[in-house]
């Protein structure tokens, strides 16, 4: 159908989603889309993403207080530090569009960190999932699930927005999430060898 309508390149995924061996996102199209309107500025989107990264870093650090397993502790600190690097990336993105913008302190004061990446409430998430998180592989799987949901959410935000600059910003953030997912996949492979 697409090929006859002027679409220049069309690829069919052989076997459909059943053949897909990567992460999958769950939920309807409108899941968590109420977090954004259609007219956010790029700066507002960066702050939203920053808050979600901050909340996830806090989640990992909170999980550190719930375990004495040294391998798990190392992993949790690694995962939290990756979120800190993402926050730094977002700050740099912010400075690239607002060179004379707020200082880091003022920027952070304007950020809400209640919702984790993917749209999950941090406290509720811990209560619901703590009993599943006792091994390194379980924690990596959880992290990959969160980042997959985050990737999906940023791209659904991008489709919702009317602001082309915001759309571009969301695509850049999504690309960062894709890279993060790839590195988590490699980490998981290392841990299963």
């Amino acid at each position: 159908m697409l090929a006859g309508q002027g679409f220049k390149e069309v690829y069919n995924l052989s076997g459909g989603i059943m053949a897909w061996d990567g992460g999958v996102a769950k939920g309807p199209v409108e899941l968590n889309l109420e977090m954004v309107r259609e007219d956010e500025t790029p700066e507002a989107i960066i702050k939203l993403a920053y808050g979600m990264e901050q909340s996830l870093a806090s989640f990992y650090r909170s999980m550190e207080t719930r375990t004495k397993d040294s391998e798990l502790l190392k992993l949790l600190e690694l995962l939290a530090s990756i979120e800190d690097r993402h926050k730094q990336y977002l700050l740099e993105l912010y400075k690239s569009i607002e060179p004379s913008g707020s200082s880091r302190e003022v920027f952070e004061a304007d950020v809400s960190a209640k919702i984790m990446e993917g749209g999950f409430d941090g406290d509720t998430f811990i209560k619901k999932n703590e009993k599943f998180l006792h091994s390194v592989l379980e924690m990596i799987d959880l992290s990959m699930m969160l980042e997959t949901q985050a990737l999906d959410l940023y791209l659904r935000f991008a489709r919702k927005t009317d602001n082309n600059e915001t759309k571009t910003m969301l695509f850049r953030i999504a690309d960062e999430e894709k890279a993060h997912l790839s590195s988590l996949g490699r980490l998981r492979e290392e841990k299963t060898l």
Partner: protein, 75 residues
């Protein structure tokens, strides 16, 4: 006339999951469309992250939502 004929016969290439994943990792978000033509309930259960849902019965009414200049991976 040649352009009309060419449009009708634009080939659709089948790719496997590994090729699709490599394509999506190698191309910037926003430069291609990942299209899910299943039903909303199927999408809700599981979908490839970033997929745009346009159920197949609605596809012919939805071409204006898609950019024909961008490569499309459809499942």
């Amino acid at each position: 006339m040649f352009e009309t004929i060419k449009k009708l016969f634009t080939p659709v290439e089948s790719i496997d999951a590994q090729q699709a994943r490599a394509y999506m990792n190698e191309h910037a978000e926003g430069s291609f469309t990942l299209l899910d033509v299943r039903q909303p309930a199927e999408y809700k259960t599981a979908h490839i992250p970033g997929a745009t849902l346009v159920p197949l019965p609605k596809l012919s009414d939805s071409y204006d939502q898609l950019d024909p200049e961008k490569p499309v991976i459809v499942y």
